[in-house]
C-alpha cells in the first residue's frame, strides 16, 4: 500500500514522503527500545534492588524523549502529506479521466467512480494523517523487542517470537477473512449506489408506471442484496474481528499457566516469569493498536486500490503534432471500428473538404454517430486512419484536435451552472459580447428573457430545468462561440419547436459558410443541400453523392427519401 500511495504523491513531494517513512521506522525502533528497557528496570525492582533500577530509568527517560521527538516529526510530515494528497488527487484523477477513451465510462462504473472521486479521496488521506503510523509500528516495534530480547534472555526471546508468530498468523487470517467479506459488501454497495442514482434520475418514469417503494424492484433488490452481503460479512467478520484480541488473551493465559508450572517446579526464576508476562502485554500493544484501526485502514486501502486502478488505465496515447496543415479537412481512410467485438464501421473512406457540408444518413444503429465520435477521437479506430486537418488524429495533440472541432450532441448535457457559463465552455476566453452574439444566433436570448434570473439562472444537473429544445439551443450556442473550422452536428435541430427551427437552421447555415460541417442529418432540406451525402448501412457506406445524383438511382437513399416523405405527410390519427 505504501508503494501505491507513493505513486499518488506528486513527484515534487516524494522526498518528503521518503523522509516521513524514515521517521516512522525510527519512531517504531525507538519505541521498541523503550519496551526493552523495561527488562533492566523491572528485574532489579522485582528482586528488591531499587538502586540498580535507577540508571536504567535514566536511559529509559532519554530514549523516551527521542521517541517523542521522532513521533512529533512524523506526525507533522504525515499531515502535510495528507493535505497535499487531497489537493493533488482531485486534479490528477480528474485530468486523467478526461484523457481516457469514452468507451471506458460504461455502466457500472458510475457509482464506483463517483465514490472514489469524492468520499474515496477523503478516506485515503487518513492513511498518511494517522493510519500508517500504527501499521508501521505494529510491524517494526515487536520485531525490535524480540531481537533485542535475545541480548537479555534467549528463553524469553524464544517465547516472545513464538507468541508473535502465532499472533501474526491470526491477524493475517482474520484480515483475509474480513477482506473477502468486504469485497462482496463493496460490490453490493456499488450496485446499490448506482441504483440510487438511477432512482433519482429516472423518478418521473418510475412514478408514471407505479414503481414506488418496494415495487421498485431494481432498487429494492439492490438494497436487499446489500443487506445480504452485510449478513454474510457478519458471520465471517465477527469471528475475525475478535480473533486477534482473543488470541492475545489466550496466549497470555497460556503463558501464565506454563510459567507458573515452571516457576513452581523451580526451573524458572519467578522474577523472570513476571518480566516475561509484562513484556508480552507491551509486545502486543502496537498490534492491538493496529486492530483498533483495522476497519478504517481497510476502507482506505480499498480506496487506494480503486484510485490506483483508475490511474492505471492507459489513456489514449497523446500525439505531438501541434498544428493541423489543412484546417477544416476531415478524411476517413479504410476505417474499421467496433465498441466491442462486433464492428460498427467497416472499411469507411471519405473526405470532407473545407467549407463543405457532408450529410450522413442511414438507419438507426448504422454507425452515423460513431463517425462523429471518431472524428473527435472519443475512441481510436481499430484499423485505418482518421485525419483531421490533414493529420492522423492520433498524432495531433489533444489541444490541436480540440481547436479544430465544435460539437452539438444528440443527448445534450449541460452543467449545473448559469446559461452563460455553459455557453462559455465552448471558449473560456470569449468576450461577453461574443457570448451574447452566439446566444442571439441560437435563439438562447429568448430563453434568457423568460427565466426568472436571466443570464444568471442555473440550469440544474444535466440542464433539467430547461426543455429538450432549450438545451439544444444552448448547446448550439456553445458550438457557435467556439468558432472552430469543423462543426460536428448530431441530429441537432430535431427537437426544436417550429418557431425556432427556421431561425436556428439559418444560424447553422451561416456557420456553414466558412466551415466544414459534418451532420448526422434527418431533415430533408439539410440532406438535399449537402455537398456530399454518405448513406450508411450496416457500418458501410453503401451510396455517396449529391441528392440530385442519388435520388434517381434505385437503392437505400431513394428508399430513405420516400420513407421520409411519407413521415412528413403522416398525421397522428386515431383508428376508431
Amino acid at each position: 500500500m505504501i508503494r501505491k500511495l507513493f505513486g499518488m504523491v506528486d513527484r515534487a513531494d516524494r522526498p518528503r514522503f521518503i523522509r516521513w517513512v524514515g521517521l516512522l521506522v525510527a519512531f517504531s525502533v525507538l519505541q521498541g527500545t523503550c519496551v526493552l528497557l523495561v527488562v533492566p528496570v523491572l528485574r532489579p525492582l522485582l528482586n528488591g534492588d531499587r538502586e540498580a533500577a535507577v540508571p536504567w530509568l535514566v536511559v529509559l527517560a532519554a530514549v523516551t524523549a527521542a521517541t517523542c521527538a521522532a513521533f512529533y516529526a512524523q506526525a507533522l510530515h504525515g499531515q502535510q502529506i495528507a493535505d497535499d494528497l487531497l489537493l493533488g488527487l482531485h486534479h490528477r484523477v480528474g485530468d486523467h479521466l478526461a484523457r481516457l477513451p469514452l468507451g471506458w465510462f460504461g455502466t457500472g462504473r458510475h457509482g464506483r467512480l463517483t465514490h472514489s472521486m469524492s468520499q474515496g479521496t477523503a478516506n485515503i488521506i487518513g492513511v498518511p494523517a494517522h493510519l500508517m503510523q500504527p501499521v508501521v509500528s505494529a510491524a517494526v516495534t515487536p520485531a525490535v523487542v524480540a531481537v533485542g530480547m535475545v541480548v537479555f534472555d534467549w528463553r524469553l526471546a524464544t517465547a516472545l517470537i513464538i507468541v508473535g508468530l502465532l499472533l501474526l498468523a491470526t491477524h493475517n487470517w482474520s484480515q483475509a477473512a474480513i477482506a473477502r467479506s468486504f469485497a462482496a459488501i463493496d460490490s453490493a454497495a456499488v450496485e446499490s449506489a448506482s441504483r440510487v442514482v438511477e432512482f433519482a434520475q429516472r423518478q418521473p418514469v418510475l412514478r408514471a408506471f407505479g414503481r414506488i417503494g418496494e415495487d421498485n424492484r431494481l432498487l429494492d433488490d439492490a438494497l436487499v442484496g446489500q443487506r445480504r452481503a452485510y449478513g454474510e460479512m457478519s458471520r465471517n467478520a465477527v469471528t475475525a474481528l475478535i480473533a486477534f484480541s482473543t488470541a492475545v488473551q489466550a496466549a497470555f493465559v497460556a503463558l501464565i499457566a506454563i510459567g507458573v508450572t515452571l516457576a513452581l517446579g523451580g526451573s524458572l526464576d519467578p522474577a523472570e516469569l513476571i518480566v516475561l508476562l509484562v513484556l508480552v502485554t507491551r509486545f502486543v500493544g502496537p498490534l492491538i493498536e493496529v486492530v483498533d484501526h483495522a476497519a478504517a485502514l481497510r476502507m482506505a486501502s480499498e480506496d487506494v486500490d480503486r484510485i490506483d486502478e483508475v490511474l492505471a488505465v492507459r489513456p489514449l496515447p497523446e500525439g505531438h503534432t501541434t498544428r493541423a496543415d489543412r484546417p477544416g479537412e476531415v478524411c476517413f481512410d479504410g476505417v474499421t471500428f467496433g465498441y466491442g467485438d462486433a464492428p460498427v464501421l467497416r472499411d469507411v473512406s471519405f473526405a470532407a473538404r473545407p467549407g463543405t457540408l457532408t450529410a450522413i444518413v442511414g438507419p438507426s444503429g448504422s454507425g452515423k454517430t460513431t463517425i462523429l465520435r471518431l472524428v473527435a477521437r472519443f475512441w481510436d479506430v481499430d484499423t485505418g486512419t482518421v485525419r483531421v486537418g490533414g493529420t492522423d488524429v492520433r498524432e495531433l495533440t489533444t489541444e490541436a484536435l480540440a481547436d479544430q472541432l465544435a460539437m452539438v450532441f444528440q443527448d445534450v448535457y449541460l452543467f449545473d451552472d448559469t446559461i452563460e457559463a455553459n455557453i462559455r465552455l465552448g471558449r473560456p476566453d470569449a468576450t461577453a459580447a461574443e457570448i451574447r452574439e452566439a446566444a442571439r444566433l441560437a435563439h438562447v436570448d429568448e430563453i434568457v428573457d423568460r427565466l426568472p434570473d436571466g443570464w444568471h439562472t442555473r440550469v440544474g444537473e444535466g440542464g433539467v430545468s430547461l426543455s429538450g429544445g432549450e438545451r439544444q439551443r444552448v448547446s448550439i450556442a456553445r458550438a457557435l462561440v467556439k468558432r472552430a473550422p469543423i462543426v460536428l452536428l448530431d441530429e441537432a435541430t430535431a427537437a426544436l419547436d417550429p418557431h425556432n427551427e427556421a431561425a436556428v437552421t439559418a444560424a447553422i447555415r451561416g456557420l456553414a459558410e466558412q466551415r466544414t460541417l459534418l451532420v448526422v442529418a434527418h431533415r430533408l432540406h439539410t440532406v438535399a443541400s449537402a455537398d456530399q451525402i454518405l448513406v450508411l448501412d450496416g457500418g458501410r457506406i453503401v451510396q455517396r453523392g449529391r441528392h440530385a445524383d442519388l435520388i434517381d438511382q434505385p437503392g437505400r437513399y431513394r428508399d430513405f427519401w420516400r420513407e421520409r416523405e411519407r413521415a412528413q405527410g403522416w398525421r397522428l390519427t386515431v383508428v376508431r
Binding site: 472521486m117 452485510y230 456553445r478
Partner: protein, 583 residues
Amino acid sequence: MTRPTRPERKAQRSGLSVVLAPVRTRLAVAAALQLIGALAGLAPYIAVVEIAREFLGGNAVDRGEVWLWVAVAAVGFVVRTACATSAYTISHVADADVGLQIRRDTAERLSRVPLGWFTRRSSGQVKRVLSDDVTAVHHAVAHVVNDLVAAVVTPLVTLGYLFWLDWRLAVICLGPLVVWFGLVAYMMRDEDARTARWSAELDKVNAAVVEFVDGIAVVKAFGQVGRAQDRYRHAGDDLARFLSEWAGPMRHLDSLASLIISPPVLLLAALGGGVWLDADPAEVVAFVMLAVGLGAPVLALGFGAQAMQVATDAAGRVAELLATPELPVAAEPRHPVGARVELDGVRFCYDGRATVLDGIDLALEPGTVTALVGPSGSGKSTLARLLPRFWDVDEGAVRIGGVDVRELPERELYRHIGFVFQETSLLRTSVRDNIALGRPDATFAQVEAAARAAQIHDRITALPRGYDSVVGEDAHLSGGEAQRVSIARAILADTPVLVLDEATAFADPESEAAVQDSLSRLISGRTLLVIAHRLHTIRGADRIVVLSGGRIVECGRHDELVAAGGAYARMWAAQTVASEEPA
C-alpha cells in the same frame, strides 16, 4: 442536505435516536454484554499481579492460591470471549437490519414527495444520503456502540483497580490522560460546525463528480483539453483548503496530544513513579501492564467520538429526509368512472415563484386526441405532468373519470395514466423488464406483442441476448429505438389515458416512420394528450390547444386555427417554410 445550524442540533440528536429506534433493545443488550466482557478481560492481569505477590512475598509459595489465580485468569478469558462474540454478532445483525430498513423507508418516502424535490437536488446528493450517510449510521450501530463501551468502560475499570492498588502511582499515570482530555476538548470545541462544513464541502464534490462523469463527453469535446472540468477541481480544492484551514492550526496540538499518551511516555511514568514512590514491585507490574495500555482505548475513544459525530450528522440528514412532506394521501379514496380528464381552473407555480400555468380549463374526452403546442417554456410539459400528479396544483383541480387526482389511490392513478417521455427513460435492466415496467406480471408473449406493435421487436432480437440484453450494458439503443421501447412499455401498460411528451422528437427518419406507425396503434381508443413540436404530426388531432405564457390562447382543429390567423397560424407558417425551404 441543508447545512445544520445550531438550533437544529437537537433535532439531529433525535435524528440518530429515530434512526436507531427499531434496534434500540438489541444495541442495549450488546452494550451490556460488551461491558461484562470488558470487566472479565481484566481478570488475567489481576491474576498476574496476585501471582507476583505470592512469589515475591518472601514467604513460602501457596501452590493452591497460585493455581486458583491461574483458574481465575482462564475463566475471565472464557467469559470475555463469549461476551464479545455475542455482542458483535447481535450488533452486526442489528446493523444490517437497520441499514435495509432506513434505505427502504427513505426510498418509499421519496417516491411520494413532489417531483420538484428531485429537480432541486442533484442525484449525487440523493446518493449521498441513501448510500453514504446510511453507511455512516451503519458504522455507528455496528462499531461505535461496541467500541465506545469498550473504550469508556475498560479504562474506567482499570483506573479504579489501579487506584485501589496505589492511588499515588495511579495519580501519576492519570496525569498524561488528563492533559490529553484537556487538549482534545479544546480541539473539539466547535467540532459540530466543522463537521457540518466538511459535509457541505463533500456534498459539493459529490455533485461535481456526478456531473463530471455524466458530462464527460462534453468535457472531452470542449473541456479545455485534457483538463478535468473546472467545477470538480474547484470543489476538490475547496475541500482541501477547508481541511487545511480546519486541521492546520490543530496540527501541533494534535500531535502533542497523541504523544502524551503514547506507550513510551506512560511506561516512563509507571516505572519512574514506581521507583520514586518505592511502590510494591507487584503493583508496579500491574501499572506497567495496565496503565501503559490505557492510551490505545483512549485513542480509540477519540476516533469513536469522531465516527459518532459523523454518524450523528448523517443520521440528522437521513431523519430530515424521512420527514420530507409527502404529497397528501386522500383520506377517503374514490374510484374514477371512465377516462375523461378535466383540468378545472388550474394554476400552478414551482416553489411559489413565477406562475407556470394560470386559469387552465380543459377537458380531454375519451377516444380523442388533444395536442398541446406552444413555444418552449410555455408550460406544455408542466401541464402534462400534472396528470400523473408529479406535482399538486396550487388552485383548481385535475380530475380523471370525475375524481380529483388528489383523491385517487396511488395505484388507481397509475393504472389510468400512461406516459411516454421525451428524454431517455430506460432503466439499467433487461429490455424485457423495461417494457414490462408498468405490468411486472406480464407474460413474455405479451411483452413481445407490445414490442412488435411498437416496431422494435426485430431490433431487440438482434441484440446479443435478445430481450434479456441489459440496457446500457449490451443493449446500446439509439434515441429513436429507446423511444420505441418506451412506446412498447406504454402499449403493455394499456392505460385508458396516455400522455406523449414530444414523442417523435429524437426519432431518426426511418425510426420516425416506425415510431409513428407504432403510435397509431397505441393511441386508438384512449384519451390522448400529445405535446408536439412538429405540427404536421398533430394536424389530424381532434383538438389543438395553443399555450403561451402558461395560458391557453387558442383552441380548435387545425383548419380552424390556420384560418383564424392567430398564434397557431404563425407557427404553422414558420414551420412550413422551415421544412420546405432547402438549407
